[in-house]
Amino acid sequence: MTKPTDLVQGTLDLLILKTIALEPMHGWAIAQRIRSVSNNVLQVNQGALYPALHRLEQQAWIQSKWGESENNRRAKYYSLTKAGQKYLKAEESNWERLSSAIGLVLKTV
């Protein structure tokens, strides 16, 4: 099992940003989504998830709003800000470049 903390620095941020790019989500759902989309490979630890969310919010990439959850409770929903969308795009292309570069190295050598 890969722990998120072992991910490349900044990867968790990228996963979170990408996950909430479609719609606002609360923390638990973000963790669930990442897990299910990655076929249970990526399990995001809460101890890392929430500090990451607060950090991203502090950096104004994402914003939060209290809303009604699917089970009718008050939950904190996170969504991308405009700056966050730009940042996500930049980070995505960064990641593409990086992973394809790593892929190239792994294939050729």
């Binding site: 101890g47 929430y50 104004a60």
Partner: protein
């Protein structure tokens, strides 16, 4: 642009703290509950579901803390929290807090006070406009210039080579015309004591001669009236003066009507045209001025000093200090080169060349603040030494409080362990402890500032005691003092807090959490490690205080040595006062008459045994010297000696023994007076016919004849003179003439001197100086200091003396009324101040070190109560326990003393110049101080040792 959002977010986290905290909890709770629901949906029992969710989540509080960290407001928040908590902790142990704050306050207060003095004396900029543009002229050369006379008034410190900052007025005028590198060039000289009358009783004031552009060059304005201007500085201008603000307030009660009033300076009526701005307190630091007078009245006010010399036009009289203001954009180097060119032009190729070209005279410009260092350079060493002493005090205080904090942090081990266990980081704990230290140092700093204000006042009073002038430097806190105090306070907090903070946060969890930590072997080992640091702190305190005490010991011995010097005369029960009839307009004849009259009237006072007078009071710092040629000695072999003119009965009044020959008689005074009169009329005539170049030889006149045929002046020499210059001769009856002046090789054609007696040696100007040869001559002109030998304490006579003097001559101000012992005290003022300050700080250091030692040992005893109980139960005698505790104390003190002695040997070498009659590594002082320290430390360890002896083994063991 993300920052508005970032900032508002951060502000919200900071100021809506409870809301943000609530949301954080809600968020976590929601997550958990959502997970529980999920687990139940997956088929778990509710309780099992909850447990699984919790397990998966991990430490809720830790996650929260990390979220807070992520919000980055933690730092401030934590700080506030730390401060609040720290204050609470300090309030909980008031004894510790009080001792720590007080100790730090002493350290910080002493440093702030002494730094205030350093600031006032050495750092504060001159109170003029743009002082950084102001430069002072200095000249230097390879050989002494040919000057007719040279005066300096202590504006520049003595240089090592040839050179100073006195120039002639003609050079100043030439430089002012030719130098294009200055936007203003002015000169000043003095201050001189002048007699001011026309405003109540006549009084002596300090008058500074200035050139007309002095005020404009300095950029100083007047508070009321107008400043002196170039038109005031011309011989035809009506005499005008400007008052200094402080003098105006003191002498004229700040009356605005003073502008336009006339007063008399010496014998000249002058108009007060203005009062200088309040902030213009001084020019050369430490030399206060009362009135500013233009050079143009120099021949009328205090003109008698110069006789026939015309100091305003003679290029051979160097006596003024030159101050220039650099033009914007002109570097000091450029201005210096230009000034040197002018200086060489004048002194090499002028009418009366002062130098040969191989002397290579140059002018150096120095910034006014550092260039006008005449007064400050004398007290600077003492100030720096005191600063070092108080820095040591602060270090001791730091070590002391660090020791206290360490002992306290040992008793807080459990608290630290609990905090660590519930998730605090070690860095966080260290920060908490450090915050508490800084809090303590802030408290100490605040209290220290109060102490400093009091201390500055007290030292200022101490420093001005024995003189009628207030402390001549303005000591007031400014931004530099403030910054210094803040920096010292902060550094102190970190310095003494760091070690305990690091140590305190390194707690071993398991043993510390157990009920009685100190009784466990592990904890004991741990504590052992801790106390190696505590021991080191006590050793450091002992070493530092030993250094301070040795410094104090050396200074005290210096003072005692100086006080115990036999000055060669009886210093007890003598009243001194000075008068100067010549500046009040008396002729020499009238002066003689007045002195004789005063001598008789004063001697008739009840309680007065005898009365005499002399040009300078002995041991007052003032002196004059000259060279004579003894008849029969090889040509060009001159006897250089100090000179003192004295009144009738001087030697009997001062109780200086007559060793050979006879004393002065009234006939001697008459003869000396006649010779003096002949010399004066010759000089006056010469000045009339040949005013400018008095050095040029003129044909002998009838007056010259009269002078050279007048009777030789009878003189008395002291024993050293006889031994040094007249060995193997009978000095009585020997004839001497003045050594030639300037570079002439022909001895003075005057009547010369005849030795009529030899008296015992006395110290003259200073106690520190070796006894010099002295030539005593009858006093026939100028001011004098009277000496009254009384039967008992003579200070009660002062009132009668004033009455008699005012009866004998109106308009005669008395100066410096004091007893001879007060005079000596004044002479030893700096030594006494240093001895007192250093003793005070030495005692303080000793007390602090002993508190440190006492605290450490007390803590040790408390910590080892159980061990001591067991030892007693096993048969140890009280004596053994005493030895155990005191032994530890003595060991620490001995180590500290050894280090301190070594350190003091290094440090004391820098004090050599201040010492007298005691070597910097004086074994007696070192041994004495070390013994004193050990004894006091022994007492400090005895108290905790007694507590150890009183340990009841049963109680100690049951205590567990």
């Amino acid at each position: 642009m993300r920052w508005p959002q970032t900032v508002s977010h951060r502000l919200r986290s900071l100021f809506r703290k409870s809301a943000v905290e609530g949301e954080l909890s809600d968020e976590m709770r929601f997550h958990l509950e959502r997970q529980v629901e999920e687990n139940i949906a997956a088929g778990m029992a509710p309780q099992e579901a909850r447990r699984a969710a919790m397990r998966e989540f991990g430490g809720v509080e830790q996650v929260k803390e990390e979220c807070r960290d992520a919000r980055r407001t933690n730092f401030l928040e934590n700080l506030l929290q730390d401060v609040r908590f720290g204050l609470r902790m300090l309030r909980k142990s008031p004894g510790f807090t009080a001792v720590a704050v007080l100790t730090l306050a002493l350290g910080i207060g002493a440093n702030t006070a002494i730094f205030s003095f350093i600031d006032a004396v050495l750092l504060r900029s001159l109170p003029v406009k743009d002082p950084q543009q102001l430069v002072v002229f200095h000249w230097s050369a390879r050989a002494n210039p040919k000057r007719q006379s040279q005066s300096s008034y202590g504006d520049c410190a003595d240089q090592t080579g040839v050179g100073d900052c006195s120039f002639s007025v003609p050079f100043f005028k030439t430089a002012r015309e030719q130098a294009g590198t200055f936007s203003g060039l002015s000169a000043f000289a003095g201050p001189l004591n002048v007699d001011l009358s026309g405003n109540g009783d006549a009084s002596i004031v300090r008058g500074l001669y200035i050139s007309g552009d002095f005020f404009s060059t300095l950029g100083v304005n007047t508070f009321i009236g107008r400043p002196l201007a170039p038109f005031d500085d011309s011989p035809s201008a009506p005499p005008a003066i400007v008052l200094n603000y402080a003098y105006w307030v003191r002498a004229f009660n700040a009356a605005p009507a003073v502008v336009g009033r006339t007063v008399r300076l010496d014998d000249t009526t002058v108009t007060i045209v203005g009062v200088a701005e309040p902030h213009f307190t001084h020019l050369t630091p430490g030399k206060p001025v009362d009135v500013f007078m233009p050079f143009s009245i120099a021949d009328r006010v205090r003109g008698e000093w110069w006789r026939r010399q015309d100091r305003l036009s003679d290029p051979a009289i160097w006596w003024v200090v030159m101050l220039g203001r650099l033009k914007p954009g002109v570097s000091i180097g450029q201005a210096q080169a230009a000034a040197t060119t002018i200086f060489r032009n004048e002194t090499l190729h002028g009418d009366a060349p002062a130098f040969k070209s191989e002397d290579a005279p140059v002018v150096t410009l120095r910034f006014a603040r550092s260039g006008l260092d005449g007064e400050t350079s004398q007290i600077a060493p003492a100030l720096y030494l005191t600063m070092v002493i108080v820095a040591f005090i602060l270090l001791i205080a730091c070590a002391n409080v660090a020791g206290l904090t360490l002992a306290r942090s040992a008793s807080r081990q459990k608290e630290m362990a609990v905090r660590l266990a519930i998730g605090a980081g070690r860095a966080r704990l260290a920060r908490q402890l450090l915050t508490e230290s800084v809090l303590l140092s802030c408290g100490g700093g605040a209290l220290g500032v109060l102490l400093a204000i009091w201390g500055v006042d007290a030292i200022g009073k101490l420093a001005s005691r024995g003189s009628d002038q207030p402390f001549p430097f303005t000591v007031a806190p400014d931004w530099r003092v403030l910054a210094f105090t803040v920096a010292v306070t902060g550094l102190t907090g970190i310095l003494f807090g760091l070690a305990p903070a690091l140590r305190g946060s390194r707690v071993d969890l398991t043993p510390s959490l157990k009920e009685n930590a100190s009784s466990l072997p592990g904890a004991a080992a741990h504590a052992g490690r801790r106390f190696r640091l505590g021991d080191a702190l006590v050793v450091a305190q002992v070493a530092l205080s030993l250094v301070v005490l040795i410094g104090a010991g050396l200074l005290v011995r210096t003072l005692r040595n100086l006080q115990e010097i036999n000055p060669g005369f009886d210093t007890q029960n003598i009243l001194l006062f000075g008068i100067n009839p010549s500046i009040a307009g008396y002729t020499d004849q009238q002066t003689q008459q007045l002195y004789t009259d005063l001598q008789q009237r004063l001697a008739a006072l009840p309680g007065v045994l005898s009365v005499s007078y002399s040009a300078d009071a002995l041991l007052s710092g003032g002196w004059s010297a000259g060279s004579v040629h003894v008849d029969g000695a090889p040509p060009k072999q001159y006897a250089n000696s100090a000179e003192l003119s004295v009144g009738l009965n001087f030697f009997s009044t001062m109780r200086i023994p007559m060793l050979a020959g006879r004393n002065f008689t009234s006939a001697d005074f008459a003869a000396a007076g006649a010779t003096n009169a002949a010399a004066k009329s010759r000089d006056a005539a010469a000045a009339k016919t040949n005013p400018a170049s008095s050095s040029a030889p003129a044909a002998p006149t009838a007056l010259d004849e009269a002078y050279s045929h007048s009777a030789p002046v009878p003189v008395i020499i002291n024993e050293t003179f006889a031994r040094k210059f007249l060995a193997n001769q009978n000095p009585i009856g020997l004839h001497m003439v003045n050594a030639p002046r300037g570079d002439s090789e022909v001895p003075d054609p005057g009547p010369g001197y005849t030795i009529i007696g030899v008296v015992g040696d006395t110290k003259y100007a200073q106690l520190r100086r070796e006894i010099r040869p002295i030539l005593f001559s009858p006093l026939v002109s100028n001011g004098a200091h009277f000496e009254l030998r009384a039967a008992a304490n003579p200070i009660a006579l002062a009132k009668n003396v004033r009455e008699i003097v005012s009866q004998a001559g109106d308009n005669l101000p008395l100066t410096d009324v004091r007893t001879q012992t007060e005079q000596i005290d004044q002479l030893l003022f700096q030594e006494r101040l240093m001895a007192r300050l250093s003793s005070f700080f030495g005692m303080l250091a000793l007390v602090l070190a002993c508190i440190g030692l006492y605290g450490l040992l007390s803590y040790e005893v408390a910590r080892r109560t159980r061990e001591l109980g067991i030892r007693m139960a096993l048969g140890a005698q009280r004596r053994d326990l005493l030895r155990l505790v005191v032994g530890q104390g003595i060991l620490l003190v001995l180590i500290g003393a050894a280090i301190g002695v070594a350190a003091a040997m290094c440090v004391a070498r820098f004090m050599t110049a201040m010492l007298f009659g005691v070597r910097a590594n004086d074994p007696a002082t070192f041994a004495g101080v070390a013994i004193l320290l050990t004894l006091v430390a022994l007492a400090a360890s005895y108290i905790p040792a007694r507590r150890a002896m009183r340990v009841d083994p049963i109680v100690a063991l049951r205590y567990e």
